[in-house]
């Protein structure tokens, strides 16, 4: 059925049409159009998920749409694998929530605002669904334009500086990536991503290509030290902008690594793995400590995002199944949890119009529902087992332990520091006595706010307790990626060596067990 009905094109078309319509109607109608369009995409996303073929031997790329060559070799080529499927699902799940979060908070130029969001949804889904490298590039880079507009028009006081920073960081990366793409398509003679993924680029060229892509993805991730645009962008963006920025846009860097860097340049990835590890280790410790001293709630969560994304990058470059699946799970989990945390900040920002942590305190008394949900998301962010983030962090760190115990140790300190800064935040906002009059006057969550947060809460628990629903679609794709990269896989540092000889039976069994751990003889 997947070939017969262009469901991916439809998912791109609906928000696009909605965006057009929003530009020409009044505020209230625009809100409803946006909500309906995003809900329609959510329904299509669910259909997509349910009809995704999980049976062994199912085609790697499904729902493929391939037009004839439009000009030159460029064609309208869409198709998804399990990895893209989960990220599309994340996108369509978060979009209606973003619209809902902007329902009352945005009062100026509502039509344009909704149009920008819907346009962005099209582009985000496009990034994950594109099968043509040229198409990917358009979606990938164009996605930033609505984000600029959202920050620049509906953002806070310092919005110009924030978007300017983002621009500078991104510019260099995209130029380099574009040049690399041009060279690659010329070399391989195709613009099709699946073809390129299977093409073996010369090892000496790989390093340059890898670095060019890295320049773009590292900024998007963001990795230390090119992360400083993120706190500013988050602080200035309206709530829904932060949600989509943390929830989906940050995932594009990770998706890029999985789709391009790892399968297309396995040797270069192995070569530069230590660069990634090094930057990620610094990021975990550095940004966690910075998060500890923040006074601005959004900045704190932004810095925590950098630390979490570092767990993603180490997992990706662990070169094994656990690492990559873990990285994917962190991306999905972080998308939900940091999105929810930004919504939580938005809830109280809407009431008191400040993000300064010390202005709050004692919210558990007058906002018990809020306190409960905020606690859940805090714990998920800390990586408590039973929540989404734990599964990802655990797998990711487990994967990287196989590559290097040092990297695993340094990155695992993130669980201590993460607990420190998140609980410290929670304590200052929610615990304590209710002494400030304006804080005391804040009402608990409204029905609309509950409708935004509760679905995320349920998703977070679902991912934590039964992550199989999310791991199953990506398993086959990750396996083939691991197989593809296997030829370049670096040796781990464990090198288990058996001791004195044992009775034969035991020995054989022990060997079998130790084989995958970089057995040395």
């Amino acid at each position: 059925m997947s070939q017969s009905f262009p469901i991916l094109s439809l998912m791109l078309a609906i928000p696009m049409a909605g965006a057009m319509a929003c530009l020409f109607v009044n505020a209230q109608t625009a809100r409803w159009i946006a909500l309906l369009a995003t809900l329609a995409d959510l329904v299509l996303g669910i259909i997509l998920w349910l009809s995704f073929d999980l049976t062994p031997g199912a085609p790697e790329w499904q729902f493929v749409e391939q037009s004839r060559e439009l000009f030159g070799r460029f064609s309208w080529a869409l198709g998804i694998d399990g990895i893209a499927l989960t990220l599309i699902a994340l996108t369509v799940f978060l979009m209606p929530i973003c619209i809902g979060a902007s329902w009352e908070a945005i009062e100026d130029r509502v039509g344009e605002y909704m149009a920008a969001f819907l346009f962005m949804e099209t582009l985000m889904i496009g990034v994950f669904a594109a099968q043509d490298i040229f198409l990917f590039y358009i979606f990938f880079e164009a996605g930033l334009i609505p984000m600029y507009l959202i920050i620049g028009i509906w953002g806070g006081a310092d919005r110009i500086y924030a978007s300017y920073k983002f621009f500078l960081y991104t510019l260099l990366g995209s130029v380099l990536m574009l040049i690399a793409m041009l060279w690659m398509t010329r070399e391989a003679g195709s613009t099709s991503i699946p073809v390129l993924m299977a093409y073996d680029f010369p090892v000496e060229a790989q390093n340059w290509l890898w670095l060019a892509f890295f320049a773009s993805f590292a900024v998007k991730m963001p990795m230390w030290p090119v992360h400083t645009w993120l706190p500013d962008a988050h602080v200035q963006a309206p709530t829904a902008g932060s949600v989509i920025l943390a929830g989906v846009l940050l995932k594009m860097g990770g998706y890029g690594f999985i789709r391009f860097s790892l399968p297309m340049f396995p040797e270069a990835s192995a070569h530069f793995a230590w660069l990634v590890f090094g930057l990620s280790m610094v990021a975990v410790v550095y940004t966690s400590l910075v998060a500890l001293v923040q006074q601005d709630m959004k900045k704190l969560i932004a810095y925590s995002s950098v630390a979490h994304m570092a767990i993603v990058t180490v997992g990706l470059f662990a070169f094994n199944q656990q690492g990559i699946e873990g990285a994917m799970m962190v991306m999905l989990g972080h998308g939900l949890v940091s999105g929810a945390l930004f919504l939580c900040v938005g809830v109280i920002y809407d009431r008191l119009h400040t993000r300064e942590i010390d202005r709050y305190g004692g919210l558990a008394i007058n906002m018990p529902k809020y306190a409960l949900l905020f606690m859940l998301f805090t714990m998920a962010s800390v990586g408590l087992p039973g929540t989404s983030n734990f599964v990802g962090e655990f797998l990711s760190l487990m994967g990287v332990y196989e590559a290097s115990s040092w990297v695993a140790l340094v990155c695992t300190t993130g669980i201590i520091l993460g607990a420190a800064y998140m609980l410290y935040l929670y304590r200052r906002v929610v615990f304590g006595d209710l002494v400030k009059d304006d804080v005391r006057a804040m009402p608990d969550l409204s029905v609309r706010e509950m409708l935004l947060l509760v679905p995320i809460a349920l998703a977070v628990l679902w991912m934590g307790i039964y992550p199989e629903s999310f791991l199953a679609p990506m398993r086959g794709n990750v396996t083939s990626l691991v197989v593809r990269m296997d030829r370049a896989k670096p040796e781990g540092d464990a090198q288990l060596a058996m001791g004195k000889p044992k009775p034969a039976a035991e020995q054989a069994e022990a060997h079998g067990a130790a084989a995958h751990g970089g057995e040395s003889h």
């Binding site: 030159g72 500078l168 910075v290 420190a420 464990a494």
Partner: protein, 688 residues
């Protein structure tokens, strides 16, 4: 059946927690307490067959959890002797604590939340002990950590409670880092984290080496020490103990359940569960012994000088956990589990008794303001007396007359002596700690229940007396104090007797019933289970249906130790009692003289060896300092300065396109993209 035991409390917690004010106090309490009593009954029904020696391992699968590559982890409920033992400890104490809380928390405005947390805790603890793989154990491990955090911070209005809650969670996370690394290592070595499979494969790994942090170590030593770091955090062993005394900020029933009877023993349970793994590494075993013995004596020394009744018991718990660890370290896992069981009963009893005292004394916790309470709250007094007799290990060596602690502590000390090596050292340290145990336990009893009342200096009591005139005393920190002692005590009562006109009342029956039931455990628990846990032949049969490594030779040797070894705990216990009696009954001026004479030592002990101050200096302050440095100096001072801001400055300096850049960067971006598109198009159209 095991599903009902485990998931019943979870369901109750969800109903009480989410229902909260909608369903009201009484239904929330009935549901949670009911679920716990049901679990307790079923747990005893599970345990008794094991006690009879005809229980067998059961593993009940629930559903898949995480599958990735060769790692396949499921939610499973495992029942064997070890689990069954923990089941009765957890559910019995938890059920009694639930009941006790009806009385203790009677005046609290937030009762459904409290009971929901208690039940949630019980669920997590049950998940921990029924785990069949390391990851589910870790789930329970973190779950109890969460519940502990929530309950310590239950009175979240108090700043000290919030701080203590964070401290408990973060310090535990340091241990969890070890636990997680241990799990990673186990998976790397064994290719599975399924507990029975690991334990079976462990002997084959003896002597193998592994690279870790750039060096090569013995595989088993690395794995065991990493896992043990987790155990140290959860069980508040030396170095990671600092959170436990602060955890006393939580309501007293919480201290009894979580910080005495169950959660803090999780580390001991973990070492026993993985005992065949630990048996493969002498180094790890030595470390466990030394850390256990060191904690045992360290915490006991601090316990002698504390004035807060709950803190004395907290340090006592820490010290008793040390006993359990060095028992495990010398290979006497049966003795460790035995002490875990008896300790759960008598320590929960002591904590709940202390709670009853605090309840009667209007939330005054300082023992210096107690005194003479035995006539006012007789049932509390008698039950606490039994608890004290149990913890100090009163009993006659060579006979079956003795309280619970007598059997279990002596089993540990005898095993330590019999094991030799580090065990001999642990034996002497353990004896000295037993002396201190006896001293601080009796000190607590004498200060609280004997001599004359000293209440008039207590602010809490003054508040209470004041309250009788209808003033609102609820401005005070601890205003969750049950207030029913207020009525009818005029301050015109005879002053000068130290009571300030205040007459403590005995607690309600909901609080007394748990005390009485736990006393039964404290009195008979030792004799009843001695042979199963520590018998030579019965022990083998009892532990057969579990993964516990039962060292028959050691147990046999422990029963055959010389007479003086058997008598030494008795001698030190009596000595401690006599010293306490001399200091706090006979010559009450001695403690003051002593502290004046040895003020340096006293200050050192009173301030808990200055460990908190040291950690503050070493970790907390540098973390904030570095955070500020990285933020201001790193992000803003270096990266931004030379990065985006620097290039902006460059552009400005060049005096070109400044205006365009400020307002038109979006367009320049779009322009770059357009150029890219044009390049693509050109290339695409061009035939190759």
């Amino acid at each position: 059946m095991i599903s009902i035991i485990v998931f019943g409390p979870l369901l109750a917690a969800i109903i009480a927690g989410l229902g909260n004010r909608m369903i009201g106090n009484v239904p929330a309490k009935v549901i949670t307490t009911g679920a716990l009593f049901l679990s307790a009954v079923l747990s005893w029904m599970t345990f008794l067959p094991f006690l009879g020696g005809h229980g067998h391992e059961v593993i009940e699968p629930v559903f898949t959890w995480i599958k990735s590559g060769t790692m396949d982890v499921s939610w499973e409920l495992r029942v064997d002797t070890l689990t069954a033992t923990m089941l009765i400890v957890i559910t019995s104490v938890s059920a009694l604590v639930h009941l006790y809380s009806w009385g203790y928390m009677d005046e609290d405005p937030d009762q459904p939340r409290f009971f929901a947390y208690l039940s949630l805790f019980t669920f997590a603890m049950l998940m921990l002990v029924t785990a069949n793989n390391l990851l589910q154990m870790f789930f329970g491990w973190e779950g109890v950590g969460l519940a502990s955090y929530l309950l310590i911070g239950f009175w979240f209005k108090k700043p000290s409670a919030g701080a203590a809650a964070i401290k408990a969670f973060v310090v535990n996370r340091v241990g969890d880092l070890g636990f997680m690394m241990g799990i990673f290592g186990v998976y790397l070595v064994f290719d599975t984290i399924d507990i029975p499979t690991i334990l079976e494969a462990a002997p084959a790994m003896a002597g193998s080496t592994i690279g870790f942090l750039g060096h090569r170590f013995d595989t088993m030593t690395v794995l065991c020490l990493l896992l043990f770091l987790g155990a140290m955090g959860k069980s508040a062993q030396l170095g990671l103990h600092t959170w436990l005394p602060d955890a006393m900020e939580g309501p007293t029933p919480v201290s009894a359940l979580i910080h005495a009877a169950t959660m803090v023993t999780a580390g001991v349970f973990m070492v026993c569960r993985l005992s065949p793994l630990f048996e493969q590494s002498h180094v790890a075993m030595s470390v466990v012994t030394i850390v256990g013995a060191a904690t045992c004596i360290f915490a006991a020394t601090i316990g002698t000088c504390q004035n807060d009744i709950k803190r004395v018991i907290a340090y006592s718990t820490c010290s008793q956990l040390g006993y359990m660890f060095f028992a495990a370290g010398v290979g006497a896992y049966g003795a460790a589990m035995f002490h875990l069981l008896t300790h759960a009963f008598f320590k929960a009893l002591l904590f709940l008794g202390a709670g009853s005292v605090i309840h009667a004394m209007h939330h005054e916790q300082d023992m210096r303001y107690y005194g003479g309470l035995r006539r006012h709250i007789p049932i509390t007094f008698w039950t606490m007396l039994l608890g004290t007799l149990a913890i100090t290990g009163v009993g006659i060596p060579g006979t079956y007359f003795g309280f619970a602690g007598f059997f279990s502590k002596d089993a540990i000390l005898e095993s330590a002596f019999a094991a030799g090596g580090h065990g001999t050292g642990a034996f002497f340290v353990g004896c000295l700690a037993a002396l201190l145990t006896s001293f601080y336990s009796w000190r607590l009893m004498f200060l609280t229940f004997w001599s004359k009342p000293r209440w008039e200096q207590s602010e809490h009591i003054q508040h209470a007396v004041h309250d009788a005139h209808g003033h609102d005393a609820h401005a005070h920190d601890d205003h969750h104090a049950p207030a029913h002692a207020h009525d009818a005590h005029g301050h015109h009562d005879a002053h000068g007797d130290g009571t300030a006109g205040y007459h403590p009342h005995e607690s309600p029956w909901t609080m007394l019933v748990p005390l009485v039931l736990l006393s039964v455990g404290a009195v008979f628990g030792g004799y009843a289970f001695y042979y199963s846990f520590f018998g030579v032949e019965e022990g083998v049969r009892f532990w057969a249906a579990s993964t516990l490594y039962h060292n028959e030779h050691l147990v046999h040797a422990a029963h055959e130790v010389p007479k003086w070894v058997k008598w030494s705990p008795f001698v030190v216990m009596t000595t401690g009692l006599i010293i306490a009696w001399l200091c706090y009954i006979r010559h009450t001026d001695w403690p003051a003289k002593f502290t004046a004479q040895f003020y340096i030592l006293y200050d050192f002990l009173l301030n808990k060896w200055y460990v908190d101050e040291l950690y503050d200096l070493l970790f907390v302050r540098p973390a904030f300092w570095l955070g500020k440095l990285f933020w201001k100096g790193g992000d803003q001072g270096t990266i931004d300065r030379f990065g985006p801001n620097g290039s902006a400055a460059l552009v400005v300096a060049a005096g070109r396109v400044t205006r365009a850049l400020q307002s038109g960067y979006l367009y320049s971006y779009a322009l770059v993209m357009l150029i890219g598109l044009a390049a693509f198009a050109t290339w695409a159209i061009m035939p190759k």
